[in-house]
Amino acid sequence: MKSVADIFTIVAVCAGSFFFLAGTVGLLRFPDSLTRLHALTKADNLGLGLVVLGLLPQANGFLGGLKLVAVWLLVQLAGATVAQVIAEALRRRGPPP
């Protein structure tokens, strides 16, 4: 039982790390600020979600796990807001010179 949980953790955390990597690669490769913003908010949020998912079996009890989920939900909310706010500011600034 323990090992199954551990394998789950390893797989999920690896996947989460992969999405963090993808987000960074996107940040480096995408052509302009707005597209980089897509990379930043979407990939990293998913990465965090997977890390949280992976840590769930390690958390103490069901409720301890829910707390991690709450963390992720709050980050999602912040990410959604920040992305829109910055996108609007960038749109107002106009296309980069």
């Binding site: 996107g26 052509p31 979407k42 707390k67 709450a70 999602q76 990410g79 829109q84 996108a87």
Partner: protein, 155 residues
Amino acid sequence: MKPLASRLGLFLVFWLMIAGYAPGDLPVGLAAAALATWASLRLLPAGNGRVRLLPLVGLALHFFRQSVSAGAQVAWLAFRPSMPIHPGFIAYATRLQWAGARNAFCALSSLLPGTLPAGSDDHGSLSIHCLDVDQPVADDLAEEEGLFLQMVRDD
């Protein structure tokens, strides 16, 4: 009375999520939830919009799926050597009237694959930044909006 009770319940659930269940802590949790409800009602008075619970669950599941595919799409694009993107803005005229519902819909669609709301333009329609303007973004959004409308009665 109804929004008060439902919000109180939701906040109590949130308390249980972060604090865990301990009988001794429950009075504090209730007080916290009551305070949160008070703040919530002051900041977001119960308006015309109503939220239906069952479609909410469906929407949440749908949203998780979309969120995963959004991340996957970014990863896919980032690692593709050719990077086939055509970024740009589209204007999307939303059917949602209530500001709260509109905001919620924007927040949700900012987590969808390829779209990022960037405020409203002068005509009141949403300005959406897309990774690929060649995709049928507006149609996808309309579909999402439809799902969203099932959950929220907007009048």
